[in-house]
Symmetry: C5
Subunit: 323 residues, 5 copies
């Protein structure tokens, strides 16, 4: 589905175009065309492949989807795959994909499996013509920056999830099973974020500093900035993973401790029953000569003994924190 197609010159939008007029603008020097597709048919891509001379392997990747984030150079064309992360209401992570083809005079972005679009990126670019006149490379930067910015929101939510679980581990008894499930689910999400961020980090490292593709040459510092953001994201996920590993161990220790506490309580209660049972057993013996049995106060005294002993025991268990 075509979302958008426009030509830009010197940072300003010239016109919205039909696909058929792309050729005209692409050949105009100093001008570039920015096309946005969503969940395209393979025919859509094929049409544009002709206009922009896209490399067949890149088009194949964009058609099939399910790529790792990456950045590939095919001659003077860059092909970039980004993962778009969105969190639904239940806190599940959904992974969409944006494939971006960038040439000297065109940008083609192909979005799939992602609910949120990039219209606001285009708007912001159009409001900053002094930056947009850096050309197609700047659009690549703007899209990357938007994608990476969304990672921050995700990563901070995951940090928050970890903190909630930590609180539960240390303060709420009986949540161990829920904590385990939550920690495991969190781990899964961290793996997903890592799969999105780490390969992209490696990719962006090629866009500043060393041998940089022509189209990104004059805006290297912007890519370094994205790199920097991404590195922060990766470090945060790394430390969340690190804490999570410890949290799992700690949770296990808490389970052992609670188990041990349960054993103690059980044993204490067992003792509270065992004492009267033993006394009762003694006075249930059939010896002929048991003077207590004849005494009028035997029965009430034995009951009192049971109760008193149990109270003493209860108090001692309490003090030892077994009950």
């Amino acid at each position: 589905m075509l979302i958008n197609c426009a030509a830009y010159e010197d940072g300003k939008k010239l016109a919205d175009l039909p696909i058929s007029s792309i050729r005209e603008y692409v050949s105009r020097p100093g001008c570039f065309v920015w096309v946005a597709l969503k969940d395209p048919e393979s025919s859509d891509l094929e049409a544009l492949q002709g206009e922009f001379h896209l490399h067949p392997l890149a088009v194949e990747d964009a058609t099939h989807g399910h790529q790792r984030p990456k950045l590939e150079e095919y001659g003077d064309m860059l092909f970039c795959v980004l993962h778009v992360l969105e969190m639904d209401e239940l806190g599940n992570l959904e992974v969409g994909e944006v494939d971006i083809f960038v040439g000297p005079n065109y940008v083609l972005s192909v979005r799939s499996k992602s609910r949120i679009g990039f219209l606001n990126v285009r708007e912001r670019c159009e409001q900053e013509p002094h930056l947009l006149k850096n050309g197609a490379g700047f659009v690549l930067y703007a899209l990357m920056d938007a994608v990476v910015d969304r990672y921050f929101a995700i990563v901070h939510r995951l940090e928050g999830e970890l903190e909630q679980i930590e609180d539960r581990i240390f303060t709420e008894r009986g949540t161990a099973r829920a904590n385990i499930e939550a920690l495991y689910a969190l781990k899964r999400k961290l793996v997903t974020v890592n799969h999105a961020a780490v390969p992209l980090l490696e990719a962006i490292a090629h866009l500043y500093g060393g041998r940089v593709p022509q189209v990104c040459m004059h805006i290297q510092e912007y890519f370094r900035d994205v790199y920097d953001h991404l590195e922060r994201i990766v470090k945060i996920t790394d430390s969340v993973r690190d804490m999570l590993t410890t949290a799992i161990q700690v949770n296990l220790a808490i389970i052992s401790l609670e188990d041990s506490a349960v054993s103690k309580r059980l044993a204490a209660y067992a003792a509270l029953f065992a004492v009267p049972t033993m006394i009762a057993g003694i006075y249930g013996m059939n010896f002929e000569h048991m003077p207590e049995l004849k005494s009028e106060f035997g029965y009430p005294l034995s009951l009192t003994a049971m109760v008193v002993l149990d109270i003493v025991l209860y108090w001692r268990f309490r003090r030892a924190r077994w009950l």
Copy 2:
């Protein structure tokens, strides 16, 4: 066993050949011979060693089998070992091997311990003469691509296995032992896939970008594509391993939790027996002055007390989720 032997020129098949005519075609410029063997006798290999001037160490490796995946250059010959992974009906991984010798004008593939062949690779190559005219290097690519593509199916099945185990861990009680065995078996398979994929990744990295062997020079982007697929496979197995490690810990925690739950249930039942036993003990005492014993309602009341106390206890245990 000879599977296939044919000569190609300019991307088109010239003829199926007997071994004896290989020499003639090999010496013809612009032409290359593609020979496929299966579980060959060492005599088969020796014959071809002469025709293609294969290096003795490479031939020795192909004869013995059991090699790690690798890529070696001997002068202008490439020797490549690939692991072929197949999953049988029971979900066991079987490892076969394909050894490929590639020279400027020949490709020799030697398949062993693998049920599935590569005839479809040859067919697809023959249907795409515009690609096949890239020569022997393209055949190497096509074989690699076919082998690596099969890894995807395996890896996705392993992902599926992990998800099944995860489901069982969190939802089905009493499956802990089965889960452990399944997790361990899964780990084994991941190690096998890693052994196939990681060394190959290192090997393919030499086929694009830097100093590339002559025979692969013009199709570097295809090898980068295989590299990319393989890297995805490695990343997936890495994250499955990572989750698996966590799953083992989590499973252990669940075992502790279930154990603890069992302790609680046992203790609750023990209490349900202990209460009537204690009451019965008390009224089994032989004191002369126990007025309850004389009462007509003593017995039914004591039974009622037992039942009522047990019901109360049961209800409390229920509420505390011990029962």
Copy 3:
């Protein structure tokens, strides 16, 4: 908020300046201006951005804060982000930030979220004019050195915390839960220190040895010294982390051991009750021919048997260290 603004020449302070006179001194050769801000409004930064020609991306970073420690070159300007660590009375770590812009003739430090300032750094610099005449780069060094020096205090406190926990683990029974919480909290702090120190280490490595920015050229050995201190800090935190991991495992083992000790005690007590109960049961049987029942000494002897057996058991449990 402006904390301080002064011009220096040849290692000596010329004058305290209002912001408006900065331009005059910046343009004077051999002279540099040192400005310190705290929690600045974005307008404050914008004013100085004009004076010092700061790069917009760096200013944006300083305005937003929450950066990782880093060192970036923008032309002949260095932009450096440091984390300031402070420990409050409860032992919690607080992370502040200092952003430092260094150019050939100016230093601008922007402090945020940090209670402790750097006035003493300025004082010490002014007392050592032979060093301060190395210019703006030396001020960068002096600030870094002050920040890193504070890390030492933190790290040594964390070492102390670990040692306290270790002592408790091995010598005080019943502290397992408190130890787990303390170990987990310690881990969190270590992660925080690592986040402050490791990226800075990577950054400072660019300030000596290889291609060094002009402004730090003549004082490389000082930066190597900071690097050295920082590396020591990193190594200490690494080994604290390493020991901490082991401590968590060890604590878990101690929990198991204590649990096991509790089981033994419980069982021993249960036995002490079970013996009299059994004997009482036996003499509670209703057989007609039980000669002991008739004996006058039957009852006292049976009680004696109960007591004696329990004493023997108690003594044996004691010896086996079950009680």
Copy 4:
């Protein structure tokens, strides 16, 4: 002890020599001397040190033994230390050492603490004069190859040991303690193999590809072959270690499971006793009005109730797999 001393020219043996005639052959161009010592006195080594101009540090290393595997260049001499691994009848690993000095016209191998010699290496070399004429470097290769080949046997036995333990873990109850001991012993052996193989791997990497010592120049592909074998060994030990770590965790989980199973069985049996005891208690009460007590069928019916209840319980425990 001198094992062997012979001179070779053009791949063929010239003569067995006494030590005293070495000088004559060493100085003859195109000729090299191959000396094999076993557990030598330091005097033996000193004598040869003079003949071959061995470097004192290398001789010191060979005299003291207990070296890590390594490869050192001293001018045009190579000094190589290899670990020889042998497994005794009880499955214990023994580590011997071979130190090899290689110069342009001599090879001196010094074997210590190893039962098995290298006579077969010399024999095979003498049977392949077309290879042996590559000179002293080829002898180094042949010795390395023989040593590394023996590693394979060891490593495959360790794989076998792991598989046996795995089988026991999952199929034989009550073997947990034996399994732990076996896993620990296996770990020790893996560490030993790793100590032999990994440093050697690093060492051999200097014998092909890059700047290669003169004496190995023409047979680089042979050293690459050894490297390849060694890398396979290292990968196998790595994956055995990896599985072993998992096996230890899995074994721990199995221990917990068996423990839990034992608890259940015990509790079930306790219940089987508790039921009759409770019933007996009830009919042991001394109420005057307990009609069952007068009934002729009271006793048999109560016994029947005990038995029936126990059978029901038993059947339910059975079904729940507690018994």
Copy 5:
């Protein structure tokens, strides 16, 4: 405190000197001065700083102590920090420090917090004038070699400690707590050794092979030898750490196993009590028609039944290894 101060020329000692005559000998070509201090006052160091033109940062490091092992070049001066490890009678590790300043014509060693000195190093050097004539660099080597040699003794003791703990883990029951403490203490010592050895390893790597400081140029092979020893030490500590990690896990498993064994024993004993109690309960019932009660042999038979059942149970528990 000045320990020693002497001048050497051509490998031979010229004279013991007072500090005041150092200047004279330092300026004499081909001659070098070797000064040894112990726990110096800062005034001692300042005096020598003037004589030898030591860099202030290095002197500051030597004054404060508590440095990581390192090697720094300041112009043609080398500054080297080594950790000296000593084990006291209780097996505790003590860490001392030696700081060594080496210039073309002087060596200054500053020892602190270490009981054992380096007089024997000086003696050995003076006995080998053919080596000592390599100058100040050789003294650096000799000191390093002495320090590293002492590491071996430490590391072998730690290996011995591990083996003792292993023996206890597998053969002596009830030592689990002691083992945990011992393993933890061992881990601490390994961390200490690692802190001494690993940074030194990195440092020494700069003294051979690549760009080597002038003063060490002609004795590179000696530094390679130290490097080699140190690498062996590091590998040994690495594998001790590795085994130790496994030993902690194994110990935990053993704890679980012993715990499980205790549970079984307890349960077995409980059963031995439960059987007579149940039988006694049955014959304590008050049914009128219980023929056994009238029988003269009822009582002895019931006692016999109790004993026989217990013997059978005991024998079965024994066979099942529960008792």
